[in-house]
Symmetry: C2
Subunit: 457 residues, 2 copies
Amino acid sequence: MSDFPKPLARADATAQLEALAGGAISAKALLAEHLEAIARRDAALGCFWHLDPEGAMRQAEEADQRRLAGEARPLEGLFLAVKDNIDVRGMPTTAGMATRRGRIAADDAEVVRRLRAAGAIILGKLSMHEAALGADNDNPHFGRCHNPHRLGYTPGGSSGGSGAAVAAGLVPIALGTDSMGSVRIPGAYCGVFALKPSLGLVSTRGVVPVSARLDTVGWLARSARDLRLFLPILAGFDPSCPSSREIPLAAVAPPERLLALHPQGDCEPKVREAFARALAACRSIAARIAEEALPDGEKLARWRRAGLLLCEAEMLNVHEQDWRERPDLFSDRLRSMLRFAEARSAAELARALLRIDEARCFLFERLAEAEALIMPTTPQRAFAFGAPVPADQADYTCLASLAGCPALQVPIAMEAGELPAGVQLIGRPGSEAHLIALAEALASAFEPSIHAIEPVP
Amino acid sequence: MSDFPKPLARADATAQLEALAGGAISAKALLAEHLEAIARRDAALGCFWHLDPEGAMRQAEEADQRRLAGEARPLEGLFLAVKDNIDVRGMPTTAGMATRRGRIAADDAEVVRRLRAAGAIILGKLSMHEAALGADNDNPHFGRCHNPHRLGYTPGGSSGGSGAAVAAGLVPIALGTDSMGSVRIPGAYCGVFALKPSLGLVSTRGVVPVSARLDTVGWLARSARDLRLFLPILAGFDPSCPSSREIPLAAVAPPERLLALHPQGDCEPKVREAFARALAACRSIAARIAEEALPDGEKLARWRRAGLLLCEAEMLNVHEQDWRERPDLFSDRLRSMLRFAEARSAAELARALLRIDEARCFLFERLAEAEALIMPTTPQRAFAFGAPVPADQADYTCLASLAGCPALQVPIAMEAGELPAGVQLIGRPGSEAHLIALAEALASAFEPSIHAIEPVP
């Protein structure tokens, strides 16, 4: 059994499933490893807001029995954790909001139902930025979540707990949500892979909404190949989910034409350096690489603010009763965002929709000429809690969100002791499998390997 | 040549193309028939706001030469006309608005470009409701368009000129636009077939926008088979059109499960009667027909108003300069609609978006159980100019608009001298060809044939 890294809880999900299938480990024993890692590290990290060891043990025993009976399902005995805005039956769903403290989900979200039906086991619920509307994960109601690479630093957000838990080896895969960049930003800051699928490919039913026009459920993992595991399980039309669409999944093809979008203006030099290295690796993969500059920061900020206003205005309705009755339970920052949106007119929101259309056309015109775009995921790496929060965290991620395109965050390792950076691949709706294959090729073309990113032990 | 009805200008487009292909008539001679019909009837009807006989003659000569040279394209020498909110190079595009009087289009809209590339010839521009935001076509700036079945009655709107021109035999097919029902309502009032395609299937680039989230270009024709002619030519992804989507067109399958949605409350008895007859005809076509009641009028009106607010708020931006500089050039009715929208908040518009989501789920949950829905197109038939304009004209059509689904209006003939009624078939995105096949089957199952609807000579 020396093929499998020890402890197995630190391996990727594909290796864990192989070990389970080969009888190298039981689900019960794997669970014990996960619980040991969580017990040892999570007090300092703050990833888990809710942990269900008893429920997980029951399900692990069932998984072992099924496997023994030859009835193992594709994800039988795989443990994962879920961002705290996604309903898991019997667990709280706070969405990081004080107003929702103690609200217990009556049903599984559609994504959780599908993963459980495939044999996966939910260990618990993960830390997130308040209301999923921000990216530092410094949650004033439920506490900070720390970056496993450097305590005292943000893991990014809003799916910060998901990024940190995967990077720290607490779980191999975690679910997050991404409306403007919320799985990709923690993926970049924590040095893990993250996939935001095409808008509408994966049901968001049972997820506390930010914007039905932008919300996606995504997943974060320690390897590119792991991203593939969930794709056939989570993709599927859901007539009761307003954003759901029938999106045919395209087959994988050899890389042909990539378009590199170079950052302008305010982009950290280390991120530029990581992007240049990724681009060099791409040259050994793709037949042709075209290059152009990203729009300037002013235009990107205008697009990002348009998406943000849409989120805020929809949230005024989603949380309407809480907002009317207990505005004091909202943080100062969230309150000022919602107050801002309250003072906007319908015509201003409609203008934001037209700006979103503009961003969409920007991306699709480029995707007509290239199978995928490559650009940095964020203009900066993780920053210290207490430092000013950059306004442009989502400037690069919002593009794929506004266009409804899939985007895949690839971690880029820096020198020892340095925080990782990230680049993202963006494709046409339904091109997820192709992006995953590209990310795998990119990861293996790297020297040093991006797998060299190891969480602080 | 006795196979072809005479005059050919009164036949459907498929018959005209057959006559052109077989040499029974030249494009020049066909044009003369169209111009004769227009000269004889349009002074009373008011369909054409702009007619280009010289340009059409030049193109007819070219079409005849191409055919002689064996280079005929699919629509070679077919004449059609276009609603006045769709750009045709060198012709005005008023959108029925006084503010746009005399604005000449520099380029063809994408749909016009595609039709011309397929050999079609644009005869001119057709009457419409002011700004495409209303359905009586009583345009205060450019004049009324009359229903060919009864002068002094509305042809419906906002593509009223398109419905009237096709019903009167002036052109076999006309382009319209449909954001909330604007090709289907005139289809129903004028007794012609009309297809509103899936949102995003057909580019709206070069069309004066109402709402990028609802606008579609549709077409009206004298036969169900004619609707098929434009489908392969107009369907196609356009990266520069914000609403454009890659929608795979489904193949035609035998009718299996239909769901009939029965009107409640305020629906004219003659429309109910027409719907009952259509449903009886369906029983000879489809294997199974389920039935349920439409939501009550209050809910339908709430959904319709949500769509309307989205249109109005987007129009405040699209026509922003005209609205600021020349509000006096807007009709009282349009002015009061835009003033209403100006006073709404972003949260109210976001609430409208959530209501649109609700309508979308209503339709998709039913389309998960049935391949197509059948329901009346409008709660009423055409009414006299001067009579109060019913508020609920778009209550039945807005459903497919809000959901982004294709919808096909089928005309139902009444007793001699009675105005026609309409039923609509609604399918999943991409099911256009199937809806057309269903409409053909339905039309041929009818006694008396719906082809018995003949325009007043």
